[in-house]
Amino acid sequence: MTGSSRLPLTLALPFRWAGKEGEARVEICENDDPAALGCWEFARGFPVCRATIAPPATGYSDMLGWVQLVDDSYHADGFHADGFEPLGPLPHPFGFYGVSPTLFDAPHFDGENFDFLAHTFLCGLGGELLEFRREARAVLGFSWGCRKRGPQIEVLDPEPLPPAAWDSHCAYLARRFPDWTFAPGFFQQSV
């Protein structure tokens, strides 16, 4: 855990998917310009997480998606799927999906205390293009978050997650997205 003076924090997670090697680059920085990010002013000082994927994907086979689960003190019901609320309810588990999508999140809370822990997974789809198996296969994962106590906001270091962390969420995800299946473990382990 760290104060904002040590930010940004970075984490590089190599992976292999669809026969290609890639890398997810996580950066946690301080939200020092809430208006520029589309946030309210009280978001200042909270962490901003961006995770990018390199190299860029070339087609359907190496498309990927980000699945994020959050355990926060506002909801207080354990880890839950964290979609992008302005889009409304989604029938699939991905916050972002497509050609090398960027994960972005800038959590903020205007109460006195706030705990926020995210488990964020990069996933591909099982099956062939027109098979429509609707199976999410985790490739890698990392945790990040923050703890607010009064005016003090501490940022949790981004850390790699093991396959067991993904497995611990699969039963919930299967209930939350009943048209989808969630393959256990990490598919094509990090190289």
Partner: protein, 205 residues
Amino acid sequence: MAASSQYPRKLELPYRWRDVDGSVRLEMRENDDPAELGCPGLARGFPTCQATVEPRGKGYADLFGWLQLIDLKNFSPSELLQHSGEGFEFDAFLPLGPAQHPFIYFGLAPTWFDAPHTAEDWDFRSHTFLCGMGGELHEVRREARAILGFSWGFAKSGAEIEFYGPDPLGPEDWDLHRDYLAGAFPGWKFAPGFYEHPLDTELSA
């Protein structure tokens, strides 16, 4: 309409969104390596298109969505193709299932990609739009604001595949689809015209 030998073609569409200048770079070319793109072998010779957005965006205010409508003719109805054949209709990203929002891809500077293919003699015309969201983050207005658009497509007749476009679309083209979109996505609004009209266009072969 043009033979695939006249491709790749590139189209650059400048835009302005929330006082930041940006650019969409589109490339349309022949699919000469279906396996590399994750397509079956029959996709060889069809068009494939990719559009990237610059700059990469910083936050919630820069989240964009790609919205695509296709006018499909000469197809066999199936569970996969939820089209009536009576004009432009929303084109969903089928592997993810039906969504309640109108975007095929959504995120920070999302890349748009399509590589259609068929064994049938389709006439496939697409109107593809880059959209931002109206309102503030916590307002949850669910309003799509078109920023720019382009058309592209192909016509297959036996072994011959001819390509359309890519060509820039104007705000009047977007407006033609708004009533349909409002009916297809009743929880959403679709603002008229282009939000901060593209400044210029440049087409190069």
